[in-house]
Amino acid sequence: MLAGLLLSLPTPTLPSLQAQSSGAADSERIAIRAERLILRPGQELTKATLLLERGVVVRVGQDLPIPEGVRVVEGAVACAGFVDPWSSLGLDPDSVGDLGASAATRSIDALDPWLVPAERREALLAGVTSARVQIARGALIAGIGALVQTSERSEPQIVREDACLAGSVGVSRGGRAGDIFDRAGEVDRLVGALEKGKRYRESQVDFRKELETWTKAIAEKLAELEKDFKKAKKDREKDEKDAKEKGKEFKDKKYKEDKKPRRPRFDPDDEALARAVDGELPLVVEVHRASEIRRLLDRTAGFERLRLVLAGATEALAFAEELVERRIPVILWPTPMGTSRPDEYEAHDLSLAGALAREGVQVLIGSGGGGDAQELRLLAALAVGHGMEPAAALAAITSAPAAVFDARDRLGTLEPGRSGDVLVFDGDPLDTRATLRAVVSRGEVVFP
């Protein structure tokens, strides 16, 4: 018990990130001064200053005057907070494992601020200030993913609650992958769903058109009926009289008109799929083998507005050209650490990131939706160690994810208007010997 007790004492290297009540006041204004200020990968200022106000970057410059009473954070190198494009940080584990999700299932519903905060804290301390979180890992259709800022607070900080629609084909579920036919079938099922969404959207459009014409027609009909009413009334009385005389029973004339077009039944899943098809949000598909990638690319070529993103992409190199031409980004999880899922094993060809990037494919580096967020930076460094350009590697965990998930104007770079997510290192951000000296999240110094 004594041991347990000592364990429970705060470890010196682990700063506690209790959100100070004075946090708001603190975060009013912060100045960050760095020898190297990386505005965006490949573009930096030396001996520059960054001014944050109310959680947002307001000014960047070489010799900015630092206003009175502003907290100043200084360091060797400063860059934008990392964005993990493939994570489940802070999500309720059951939802992450829930294969019963459908297109309309929302990841934000699974954001559980009361989960043990250690994981989120570690992620913050490792510079991951925001992440795209996704439920239903490994499901054919995994629902709507969210882009959130890492936070220990009890209310999650959501950047985009509908960052993407996600799915996966050919991945192993419960430790085993299907055979080649199952996997091809999965591609078809996924595409089939997209087509259903497409038809759903079309049917809505058609309905609106038909309704218009019908309404118009009916209006005219009505006008005409009203015009002829007197006559109709006379005729009726006459007919009635005749009938009486003939001792026959009077019957009204049958009235006929075009049926009103039927309104298509609302379906939240089709709606979500339709939005993806219309390119309102990207579609992230985890896929590994060449056979499925090939099929997926072919079958989706028809959707001109669809914004496809490949995840995992073990054997994507063969398709680099097409990926470039169709502007399809790729999210990799270049870890050497292995996984229980056989289809991901080969994905740990650490040179893939560099190779794809050299071909001109937009490469994002993520932590694979597991508990690895805190190592994002190490993974990027490893990618550099295997031939990726440092700038590209940094982009892969900052600006690129921000761009792909429509948060270009909020995250990933240090320019006026961006969220005040800043990391200060005592060396190059990707040098694994360098340590993170300060983490600023939403203009608030969360560490030290």
Partner: protein
């Protein structure tokens, strides 16, 4: 079934042979101490009940005894208000319908008047019970408030069609995300349905008009038979056009919920469920008529609950035990204290049979530093108010129903037994005649009175399951532990 029959006979014997008091409707209860829960205790007090209601409470010398009244009790007894069970899913043959949305269900159809549970209620001094469906539907059916006596549901009914059960705690086969999706869609679907009705109504009217014009008839316009919805977050214009009768019974109860006809009892398994529950009831505009049924863990969301100002019913154990997965450190939290500190109105109710006794729960609360009166309020006054029965039960006051317990000594002490239970002036339980109590206490087993199995007792299998499921949730810890052990052993 045989068991049930036996129980029925037994219960019959428990419901004491009709006293003359019941004809004249007058009963006098005398006690060495009366705990009124409405002001200071009364030493040597007297309660007069006439026609089921309390007509007088006070010191014996100040309250005059009607000449024709039956007198029970005496100096050795302590009189306490009958306990109020704020929420339970027991006493039914089946507590759950395994479909997502089932508001059309009515608990009355599954309440089992001879369930062991109701017999036990008397033994424990529970005189008012709010029976609601189990938490295995996203939108459950409508419940009812009963008194635990009577051979038919009608006899038992205090408030029929009372309350409607919702649940944000993921049901079997669902996760948080999919549960929320289903819950939201239930209401979305209702809205779509109503809009559809209105549209159809309008189209038909239009058609009728055109047909008449064509046929040269004068159309006699019918007055709208429907009536507008009011006081809700969202409206469907033109709903007044729809005659009430046209509503599909599968949807009607949900609409009635939105109209504020039922109290919403929302089951929350953990803090996130609380957040979701509040989001939903706010969106549907029924916050004012919402009661959260929470498990121990939910104390972490106490701030949200306090801010929303809704009352809660604590269904899990009173002590929440959490273990840090990294350090292995355990932290205990006494939940009622947190609720009290945040100023949340709460009632105590436990599905765990080992701690079900309201008196035991109140005692535990006292042990952890709550005021005696406050502790007892949590099983009398507060639940009464939550059930909208604040003027009827929960304390011993003039005008309230004559639901009184006579205990041998302090009901919170080990020595205090519920000796007599009076419901609305009728003596419905006497421990002296309670053969099963004798059995539990001394092991003497009269023929045909073996306690039924939990299934027969109508305990909610879902909850049973829960208990086994979460090891670290205070209350049912031990059971869970054993079950677990026996499981793996069984597997040997």
């Amino acid at each position: 079934m045989k068991r049930l029959l036996a129980t029925a006979l037994l219960l019959a014997s428990l419901v004491a042979a009709p006293l003359p008091a019941q004809q004249s409707g007058r009963l006098v209860i005398e006690a060495g101490r009366i705990v009124t829960q409405a002001g200071p205790d009364i030493e040597n007090g007297r309660i007069v009940i006439d026609g089921g209601r309390i007509t007088a409470v006070g010191k014996a010398e100040e309250v005059e005894k009607p000449w024709d009244a039956t007198v029970i009790g005496g100096k050795e007894f302590v009189a306490v208000p009958g306990f109020v069970e704020a929420h339970t899913s027991q006493g039914m043959d089946r507590a759950n319908e395994n479909i997502d949305v089932a508001p059309f269900l009515d608990i009355r159809d599954s309440i089992d008047p001879v369930a062991y549970f109701f017999e036990d209620c008397l033994r424990l001094g529970i005189t008012t019970v709010n029976v609601q469906q189990g938490a295995n539907c996203v939108v459950g059916g409508r419940g009812m408030v009963v008194r635990p006596v009577g051979m038919t549901v009608e006899e038992m009914a205090v408030r029929p069609l009372f309350g409607l059960k919702l649940s944000t705690r993921p049901k079997g086969g669902k996760s948080r995300a999919t549960q929320m999706q289903a819950l939201r869609f239930a209401f979305e679907d209702l809205k779509l349905y109503l809009e559809g009705l209105v549209e159809k109504e309008r189209d038909d009217a239009g058609y009728a008009k055109r047909e008449a014009l064509f046929q040269g008839r004068d159309l006699e316009a019918e007055a709208a038979q429907g009536r507008a919805m009011s006081g809700n977050a969202w409206k469907v214009d033109g709903l007044e056009l729809v005659p009430r009768g046209a509503l599909d019974e599968r949807y009607a109860p949900l609409l009635e919920l939105l109209e504020g006809r039922y109290t919403a009892f929302v089951h929350c398994g953990d803090p996130l469920d609380v957040v979701h529950a509040l989001e939903v009831v706010r969106a549907q505009g029924i916050l004012a008529r919402t009661v959260l049924v929470i498990e121990s863990d939910c104390w972490k969301a106490a701030d949200r609950i306090a801010e929303a100002g809704v009352p809660v019913i604590l269904e899990g154990g009173l002590l929440d035990v959490q273990r840090d997965p990294i350090t292995g450190e355990e932290v205990e939290t006494f939940v009622p204290r947190v609720l009290q500190e945040k100023g949340i109105r709460f009632a105590l109710s436990s599905e765990d049979p080992n701690t079900r006794a309201p008196a035991y729960q109140a005692a535990l609360a006292v042990a952890y530093g709550m005021e005696r009166t406050a502790a007892l309020d949590a099983v009398t006054r507060v639940p009464a108010e939550i059930l909208g029965l604040g003027d009827e039960v929960g304390s011993l006051e003039r005008g309230k129903l004559g639901n009184v317990l006579l205990c041998s000594g302090d009901p919170l002490s080990v020595a205090g037994w519920v000796e007599h239970v009076v419901i609305e002036g009728r003596l419905v339980y006497e421990r002296a005649k309670d053969v099963r109590n004798k059995h539990l206490l001394e092991g003497v087993q009269p023929l045909g009175t073996a306690p039924p199995t939990s299934a027969e007792a109508g305990e909610d299998p879902e909850h049973e399951h829960e208990k086994k499921a979460d090891e670290d949730k205070g209350g049912s810890e031990k059971d869970a532990g054993d079950e677990q052990k026996e499981k793996e052993d069984g597997g040997r």
